[in-house]
């Protein structure tokens, strides 16, 4: 009797505990091996870019924070930098504000990597790592709540500076936290790096070659895990990153374990940068560029001076006009190069806002990564690429 093999089509649907959001993967399987796969995205398409065309420039900051919801303030930082360059006020942002922005960006990177570590490890099976990582993340969310009153989407970074000054006691909370954070990262490494269960599930899994990584447009931790030391903070520095002392970690293997190692090391570097930034920031001081056509004047002046009242009213009723032109200033987000391509026609509303989403390209590269592997490796692969569906679908 002749035997015949055929492949089986299985749906790993949008509702799945381990697909990091709503991603559908239709897998063609030969036993447990994956012959081919077809990702379908769009289940979280929110039309943020279309909605943003109806909003005034300063109203878009909370909107874009909800795109990449694990690292929201890197979104708002990228947006604010693009708008500020188009406005031409880039040089008027005070040094203190720039240092605070660096601090917030690095703490945000830490928070995003903690969620990545927790969920990635939990899906592979190390459930307790999630509890540890979320414990540290709660402390970071406490800090965000201190500065702007909101845990996840503080909208603290605004066009022209910050929303308000740092609260009292900020240094006393953040300093000890950062000092203890490096021990916590060592703890995560103790739990995972030499753990045989972890290495058996991650070493050699979901490899992507250097040429494929670059050809698929992946720049970020995924590229650094194949040996391409490209980091926007070093190659095209923004804010004042060129004055900070940090290294860009790379590995050469390009598998899940290499990406894990790169990100753990990035967390350590983030702590280092944040500690340097914290030393440079004075507890109170200037917090915006002082141009009251763009940032609102302080409230006590609004209540007593006529001109400040008019400026406040104009900003909140009709906003400010951004000169005609286009701009793209990317930042190094937790997932890679992240930037907003904005087009303005001189009015108080944008013509187009396009977010260059690193997760979009990571999703595109998924079929190449998982081909030939096992189903269980799909989970590891998706976790290692750190896709956030809000960023993919916008």
């Amino acid at each position: 009797m002749a035997t015949r093999t055929e492949t089986m089509t299985v749906n790993m649907g949008p509702q799945h505990p381990s697909t990091h959001g709503v991603l559908r993967l239709v897998l063609e399987l030969d036993g447990e091996n994956i012959v081919s796969s077809d990702p379908t995205i769009g289940f979280l398409h929110t039309g943020i870019e279309k909605t943003a065309e109806q909003k005034k420039w300063q109203q878009i900051v909370p909107l874009v924070e909800r795109m990449d919801y694990l690292g929201p303030q890197s979104n708002s930082l990228a947006f604010c930098l693009s708008v500020e360059r188009l406005l031409g006020i880039e040089d008027e942002i005070p040094e203190r504000v720039t240092n605070i922005r660096v601090l917030i960006a690095e703490v945000q990177r830490l928070s995003s990597h903690l969620v990545w570590l927790g969920t990635h490890a939990m899906e592979i099976g190390a459930v307790s790592v999630m509890m540890y990582a979320f414990r540290e993340r709660e402390q970071i969310l406490n800090i965000f709540e201190m500065i702007a009153g909101f845990r996840m989407f503080p909208s603290y970074l605004r066009i022209g500076g910050l929303r308000e000054d740092l609260p009292r006691g900020f240094h006393d909370v953040l300093g000890p936290f950062l000092d203890k954070m490096s021990e916590k990262i060592d703890l995560y490494e103790v739990m995972l790096t030499k753990n045989q269960v972890w290495t058996k599930r991650t070493v050699g899994v979901a490899k992507l070659s250097k040429e494929d990584t670059i050809a698929m447009g992946l720049v970020g931790p995924l590229a650094r895990a194949v040996g391409v030391p490209y980091d926007v903070r070093k190659v095209f520095p923004y804010l004042n990153y060129s004055t900070y002392d940090f290294i860009v970690p790379t590995r050469t293997d390009g598998d899940v374990f290499a990406r894990y190692q790169v990100k753990i090391e990035e967390m350590r570097q983030s702590v280092k940068i944040a500690q340097q930034a914290l030393k440079r920031i004075s507890p109170t001081g200037v917090y915006d560029c002082g141009d009251y056509r763009i940032v609102p004047p302080p409230k006590d002046r609004v209540y007593t001076e006529m001109e400040a009242l008019i400026q406040h009213f104009l900003i909140y009723s009709q906003g400010f006009n951004v000169p005609k032109g286009e701009c793209y200033v990317p930042v190094e987000g937790p997932r890679g190069e992240h930037g907003f391509f904005i087009v303005s026609d001189g009015t108080n509303r944008p013509v187009r806002i396009k977010s260059r989403a690193p997760s979009f390209y990571a999703c595109q590269a998924l079929p190449r990564m998982i081909q030939g592997g096992l189903i269980a490796d799909v989970i590891a692969a998706i976790g290692s690429t750190d896709v956030v569906m809000g960023d993919v679908d916008r």
Binding site: G21, V22, G42, L44, H45, M130, M131, R151, M152
Partner: protein, 157 residues
């Protein structure tokens, strides 16, 4: 519940219905239906600091067929609506739905072509939890409200 004071062994009497509803509401197991940002706060609720397990939601089931509760956490797009309805239909009775966040309750910040303006257009909702995203304590309060609702309701419902 009446206590019989003249017996040596204390005895409480109640109705079967109250016992069943008490059992049902003390161990509500949700199915993972995290869509967007609210899912992260839902995970934070399940993590160590807010620990929803002490309220009965011990595990988040992966399969809808083993769950009691569906917390729709996040914005529902039109492409996802059939999937939501199918997951809801696959769950056995008794089943409850919590709509978490502004986007699930009413469309939230996103009133546009792509977001369903409230998941109650697709599934019947028991509790709405407002917020963007709601704090984990707010979601726990929503679950407690649901527990009170189950206590009040009749078994056949």
């Amino acid at each position: 519940m009446a206590a019989s004071a003249d017996l040596e062994v204390p005895v409480l009497t109640t109705t079967v219905e109250k016992m069943v509803q008490w059992a049902r509401r003390s161990a509500i197991w949700p199915v993972t239906f995290g869509l967007a940002c609210c899912a992260i706060e839902m995970m934070a609720m399940a993590a160590g600091r807010y620990d929803v397990a002490r309220f009965g939601a011990e595990v988040f089931r992966g399969s809808p067929r083993q769950s009691d509760l569906m917390i729709i956490a996040g914005r529902l797009s039109r492409k996802m609506a059939p999937v939501l309805r199918r997951i809801y239909d696959q769950r056995p009775e008794p089943k409850w739905v919590i709509s978490m966040g502004a986007c699930a309750s009413c469309g939230g910040v996103f009133d546009n072509y792509s977001i369903v303006q409230g998941v109650d257009q697709v599934v019947p909702v028991d509790v709405f939890v407002p917020g963007c995203p709601p704090r984990p304590e707010a979601l726990i309060y929503g679950i407690v409200m649901l527990q009170r609702k189950i206590d009040r309701s009749r078994m056949s419902a």
